[in-house]
């Protein structure tokens, strides 16, 4: 399955992935409209420090602790992609408790969680973070 891989050697810490993610998941077709004057809640997040930068988003584990731990059944694996049904989610944060990557996070309103779904849940096509990465630090590949 194609996954998002991170090569921190090339990550510039520019945070464009976060903005592209937020835009892709905004449901809006204009980035300015979508992101101007708002706090963004991207599903991919940059860690940086000491000259090291890298992006972290859902790894779509083969043995996903989040899915196994979800008390509502809102998290499920669909064609290898770990999907969250935000309608079902009650925001108990058990998935946040168990995700070893810290890749599940509360959504903007706090009541439910959100996570990277490889842009299968929006109209971006290929993951927006990958498309917009200026230095190929994030790639979307079969390995």
């Amino acid at each position: 399955m194609k996954r998002v891989y991170v090569n921190e050697k090339w990550c510039l810490g520019c945070h464009l992935c976060e903005y592209n993610c937020a835009f892709a998941n905004s449901g809006c077709d204009d980035m300015v409209k979508a992101l101007k004057d708002v706090q963004i809640y991207p599903r991919i997040q940059i860690e940086q420090g000491n000259g090291i930068n890298f992006a972290v988003n859902c790894r779509h584990c083969e043995e996903p602790l989040c899915v196994k731990s979800c008390i509502t059944g809102a998290l499920s694996v669909q064609d290898g992609v770990i999907h969250v049904d935000q309608d079902k989610c009650v925001g108990c944060y058990t998935c946040i408790l168990v995700c070893p990557y810290g890749a599940v996070m509360p959504g903007p309103t706090g009541g439910v969680v959100q996570k990277c779904e490889l842009c299968t849940n929006n109209s971006s096509g290929e993951p927006a973070c990958v498309k917009g990465c200026p230095n190929r630090a994030i790639v979307f590949e079969e390995r």
Binding site: R3, Y5, V6, N7, E8, E47, Q48, G49, N50, I52, F54, A55, V56, R59, L65, K68, S69, I71, T72, G73, D87, K88, V90, G91, C92, Y93, T94, C95, I96, L97, V98, C99, P100, Y101, G102, V104, M105, P106, G110, G111, E141, R143
Partner: protein, 410 residues
């Protein structure tokens, strides 16, 4: 192959999915004493709160049993297990033959003897869907509710109904709330937050006797109420297992494959004990994720596969009125604490390992801590200074990160 599962919650579903990941054809029977499609019990408080509904509470889609070729017997109780004859005798007179059997019988509320309790007309437990629906029926905007028990169940119940009743009082014998998952400081912080919602606590005391619409407490105070919720504690349902000779301590004892001491008999979920790697002992870890994973492990083992359930730890994610609490592990060891007005964080280390943590208010990426506990990551292999500040993968060595994020082989 005939698989029989007594119970129909997280462990049962885990078992079904575990079996089906290996054996697509064997017969699976689920015996449920509740008349409902599998639902998530922890959601009953959210149901009352209005955050979910009966439909969304379904833990798996409607076609779950059909898709997994499971024969689900609803509203039927397993009376007895005939281990010699390999069959489960039901309360309707029939029986179900098994080759492999899982006890996923869960737990039941435990009510200590209290004077005058039988005189209380509206008293409820808070474990099952039916409990929640009955409670909802009983309360109204003018209700004064007394909850006995300031543990997870009692407090989630309190949150669930706070908006629907006039008064809400919680009584617990323990001197602080949530003693099983929080330390004193944490309890205090959460209590204050809950109190802001107009909930009154009487702690370090208990009901001396119930009278007409009132409870007299041992400390001399009196609480008036018209609806009583009993959330003192639960006990694992171990009777059926004990009868056939399964080893039972507090819960049914099962190993890392979730096998009991009897061949072909498994136990998983709240009725069982698992090995807590933070305490190095067998304990009942009555937690949804553990139940699912135990059930899955049992299912895989039953079907001839190989999976280990060997990373069990106590852990909880819970929230009250938008204050989120995430805890895991044990709290014996060296503590590292940071506190702000709205947040509390405690990390406990021992023997170069992270043993446990408490996060209140700021819970982002808590799973990175959980993983350190589960994986028993030696702390000298990570930058603990860094990770102590906040959970982050930066604290791991670059090659480790390359494995975690870059697709490098471990």
């Amino acid at each position: 192959m005939n698989y029989v599962i007594i119970g129909n919650s997280a462990a049962a579903v885990g078992c079904v999915e575990g079996i089906r990941s290996i054996d697509k054809t064997g017969s699976i029977t689920v015996i449920s004493d509740e008349p409902h499609h599998v639902y998530s019990r922890p959601l009953i408080s959210y149901l009352l709160y209005g955050k979910t509904d009966r439909e969304k509470m379904k833990y798996r889609p409607d076609d779950f049993y059909e898709k997994n070729s499971v024969t689900a017997l609803f509203g039927v109780t397993a009376e007895k297990v005939d281990y010699e004859a390999k069959k489960v005798v039901l309360n309707n007179g029939s029986s179900v033959a098994f080759d492999k059997l899982l006890f996923a019988t869960g737990s039941s509320p435990f009510v200590p003897p209290m004077e005058g309790l039988d005189t209380v007309p509206k008293k409820f437990s808070f474990m099952k869907l039916d409990d929640a629906m009955a409670l909802e029926e009983a309360i109204g905007p003018q209700s004064r509710v007394l909850i006995v028990g300031a543990g997870l169940i009692g407090l989630k119940c309190a949150e669930g109904i706070r908006g629907k009743v006039r008064e809400l009082t919680v009584v617990d014998l323990a001197p602080r709330i949530l003693p099983s998952i929080l330390d004193e400081e944490g309890s205090d912080m959460v209590q204050k937050h809950i109190e802001k919602q107009g909930i009154t606590f009487h702690l370090g005391t208990s009901v001396a006797r119930f009278g007409a619409e009132k409870a007299e407490l041992k400390n001399g105070e009196t609480v008036e109420f018209d609806v009583l919720v009993l959330a003192v504690g639960v006990r694992p349902n171990t009777a059926l297992a004990a009868e056939i000779g399964c080893k039972v301590n507090r819960g049914i004892v099962s190993d890392e494959h979730c096998r009991t001491n009897l061949d072909g008999i498994y136990a998983a979920g709240d009725c069982s004990e698992s090995y807590d790697i933070t305490e190095d002992q067998y304990r009942v870890l009555a937690l949804w994720p553990n139940a699912y994973m135990q059930g899955e492990t049992a299912g895989i083992d039953m079907a001839g596969g190989n999976q280990l359930y060997d990373k069990a730890i106590p852990m909880n994610a819970i929230g009250f009125f938008d204050l989120h609490v995430i805890t895991a592990g044990s709290y014996a060891g060296e503590a590292y604490v940071t506190r702000t007005e709205d947040t509390y964080k405690k990390l406990i280390t021992k023997d170069n390992l992270l043993k446990g943590f408490i996060l209140i208010g700021e819970i982002a990426r808590a799973g990175i801590y959980t993983s350190l506990i589960r994986e028993k990551t030696p702390l000298d292999t990570v930058d603990f200074e860094l990770i102590r500040e906040r959970p982050q993968l930066m604290a791991f060595a670059a090659p480790e990160r390359a494995v975690k994020l870059g697709g490098a082989k471990a």
